[in-house]
């Protein structure tokens, strides 16, 4: 597809890289010409320097033939104007990033009237992601397929867990759960495991199955599956506000530490049920006084990455709370990942991921039949969901007789809403949605899995 991205900050650049790798033709517009230069040198895309809301600049970027315009500049107003002009000039789909809560509250009206395809609020999205993790704190990350009917739960094996030093065959024989361990990451290496694969402590495994079955799997392992009962949030920004709203509706108790008095008052008006504390989140005495060691979850949401990381490391040393750390800078994600901080939230990454997901769905209506795609572990692994069409060559053949490519695993088959963990005798039927986990890239159709 022809895609124009306005605004080339972190999100814009991440999107440009991702979408270009997925085979779309990308043109970026940014008012800073050196930024444009930089991005177009690093990726195979075209850059146009200028104001993205200008009609002539959009024409130069080829808005007439574009399928989609994504506006992710710093300014909400500019983003909305970009989309409005693109809509009139090219009649393409438009995606805008809008973060001001004033607009956010009226977003449905704006979206409807301006004909936007998608409006994304990065803070809200990040809060949603955090809330999802807090509902099942043992997991590092949960991705969903088939409208939530299939879940891919990532979990790190602790020392002394029942999974340690066990082969996958033994585990499935012992636990008898309808789930599949479809991927194992061990110190930078990723495996698509077979039955004889032996797990070790500190491995990061991905468990796939229906939500009910994955919960059961973890219960049998003795891993805490209940949601956190209380959450301690440091930093009272927008993410904290959206997060608190959601947590309170689940009945999770919330404490927010914020250093700015005015903001504290504002928060206490907006969130009467939460406890708002005025103070410096890095003050150890204050944290102790407010009962940090007893909190079920700790969320570091200040504006400084360093402060968030330090706080989480400290909390890790004094309590067993589920840790969630917000990090803005994407570049060093690998090193931060090694710190073993539990869940790291990259708001910019989440924004990009949601937009990429939308683009995939859009493309789906054009040709390819990938329903969902997740890239994991530094893009080394893909989990893809395909919708199987009537004329597919894989229909009706038991899986054990299919000649599959190596490093590829059929992880789940949903047939009319029923999730089945595939066995050798299972067959794929037309209309099924199939999840594939693979270290190969560039699969576009279910038939690509055949060797």
């Amino acid at each position: 597809m022809q895609i124009i991205i306005v605004g080339c900050g972190n999100v814009g650049a991440t999107l440009a890289e991702q979408l270009s790798k997925e085979g779309h033709n990308i043109t970026v517009i940014d008012s800073k010409s050196d930024v444009v230069q930089d991005v177009s040198n690093n990726f195979d895309i075209m850059g146009v320097p200028g104001n993205g809301a200008s009609y002539s600049i959009q024409m130069e970027a080829g808005i007439e033939n574009a399928d989609l315009l994504i506006a992710v500049t710093d300014s909400d107003e500019l983003n909305l104007l970009c989309c409005l002009i693109a809509k009139k000039a090219g009649g393409c789909h438009t995606i805008a990033r809008v973060r001001n809560p004033v607009y956010s509250r009226e977003i449905n009206f704006i979206k409807e009237e301006m004909g936007l395809s998608l409006v994304i609020n990065p803070e809200d999205a990040a809060a949603m992601e955090i809330a999802r993790v807090l509902k099942f704190p043992s997991a590092i990350k949960i991705d969903t397929f088939s409208k939530g009917r299939v879940e891919l739960v990532r979990y790190r094996i602790e020392e002394g867990s029942a999974l340690c030093d066990q082969s996958l065959k033994d585990i499935s024989a012992r636990l008898k759960c309808e789930v599949l361990i479809s991927m194992v990451e061990r110190e930078d290496e990723v495996f698509i495991p077979g039955g004889n694969f032996v797990l070790r402590a500190k491995d990061e495994i991905s468990v796939i199955g229906s939500p009910k079955n994955t919960i059961q799997f973890f219960k049998k392992l003795g891993v805490a599956t209940t949601r956190a009962k209380s959450a301690f949030i440091v930093g009272g920004g927008e993410i904290a506000y959206y997060l608190a709203c959601q947590l309170l509706t689940f009945g999770i108790k919330v404490k927010i530490v914020e250093r700015d008095r005015a903001r504290c008052e504002e928060l206490s008006e907006l969130l009467p049920q939460a406890r708002i504390i005025l103070g410096d989140g890095t003050d150890r005495n204050l944290l102790m006084e407010e009962g940090l060691p007893q909190a079920g979850a700790f969320v570091a949401l200040t504006n400084l990455d360093e402060e968030n990381i330090m706080l989480s490391l400290y909390v890790k040393s004094i309590s067993k709370a589920k840790l969630i750390t917000k990090v803005h800078r994407i570049a060093y994600d690998k090193i931060i990942g090694q710190l073993d901080l539990g869940s790291i939230i990259y708001p910019k990454f989440i924004t990009a991921e949601i937009i990429v997901k939308y683009v995939r769905a859009m493309q789906n209506s054009i040709g390819s039949n990938i329903e969902t795609l997740y890239r994991m572990n530094n893009d080394k692994v893909e989990a893809l969901e395909f919708l199987v069409k009537e004329d597919s060559p894989v229909l009706g053949i038991p899986l054990q007789e299919l000649k599959l490519k190596p490093n590829l695993l059929i992880s789940s088959i949903s047939h009319k809403g029923n999730v089945v963990i595939p066995r050798g005798q299972s067959v794929i039927r037309a209309g099924d949605s199939v999840v594939i986990v693979t270290t190969l890239t560039g699969l576009h159709d279910i038939k690509d899995i055949l060797a």
Partner: protein, 479 residues
Amino acid sequence: MNYSIICYILCKILDFAALFMALPCLVGIIYTEKAAWSFAAVIVVCLAVSLAGRRFKPTSKVFYAKEGFVAVSLSWILLSLVGAVPFYISGEFPTYLDAVYETVSGLTTTGSTILTDVEGLSYSIQFWRCFTHWIGGMGVLVLILAILPLSGSYNMHLMRAESPGPSVGKLVPRVKSTAMILYGIYILITFLQVIALLAAGMGLYEALTLTFSTVGTGGFGLLNTSIGSYSTVVQTIFIVFMLLCGINFQLYYLLLIRKPKDVLRCEELRYYLGIVFLSAALIAFNVRGFFESAFQAFHHALFQVASVMTTTGFATLDYDVWPEFSKTVLFLLTLLGACAGSTGGGFKVSRLVILWRCVKNEVSQASHPRSIRKIHMEGHIVEEGTLRSVQVYTAIYVLLFLVSLLLVSLDEFDFVTNISAVAANFNNVGPGFHMVGPAGNYSQFSGFSKVVLMFDMLAGRLELLPVLVLFSPRTWRKF
């Protein structure tokens, strides 16, 4: 420096060299010439070496600007060395050095020759000489980018290092599609000229080879008199296609996507055509005494101007006997060259326009010290970086020119010969004046001078920087 990926690209170059040589080999088979065997042998060796090299898979995908420059320069040098082998082993060239000179001259679309008798060559060797122009015209790495599935960021580094012009832009977001469009236009123009020449009554072999020489703006001919013995109609076809290939290929893309207004608005095109017709008119007036009619004078003046300005280097007559004024105009056009983004070489019209505007700005700045003025070109402000690169380019251009002149003067030829030889090679034109005029050739130069001139040709074709990067010791340091 990532050697493995450069090695990988060089192996691809060998594959392509083998592919290209299949054509002259076929010609040799059709005319049952012995030279066909020399091509066949080189093809086999190329494929064998490339097969052996392919066992070393690129270990890392690291590819930065440095690798881009080095890969491009090395590719051209390798292609020149390999392309010269059939010339030499066919026995039709005196030494390997001469054969390499001829190949470099071909690939860089210069068209300067060390042969005294072109007509004595066999058909397949003639074909290969002209075909090297076609390969070099658009650039072999652009072709690789168009055909091979090279993904990732590094294709832009390759494209930038090989394409001519002060600032390299893409036509469409993807380098691969851009390269394909460029080659598509190139092949279309080639096809049109072949048709035109066939319609004018030329044989297929002649039409093909001369078309390769024209669209690559090269200048190797089949006859010792270059284009002189063809009819006026044929010569006019050459004028048209030389001029077409001296235009930025981006404009043809704009025509294809139906934006003719943008083409007319192009400042570089206007200056280019303006300079061509003004020079032709001046020369025609100056040489009117040599011809029977004013039309004849203008026709030959225009042919020579188009040939030199687009850096092709064909000639319809020996213009070395023309008055000094006409020769000086032609010499200045030698230095100037064609448009950016064309197959022509030289300093490029757009650089001259930008430079001229810089000068104008400086002068007005002197009288109004506080005034601030940006330089515009093609309706856009010229970026500070582009301005600097144009100025630095000019400085390097002059420096390299002077150093080459000094080195070539060791041969003790006269000044006009030396300066025009360096200018003609550096700007990829071909013929100069006096001993290296349209009727002369480069065979008298010593081996050392030939090496200097080869360096000039490569530097000129690749727009100086890639070659300088290759020879700079800093490039090869680890840290």
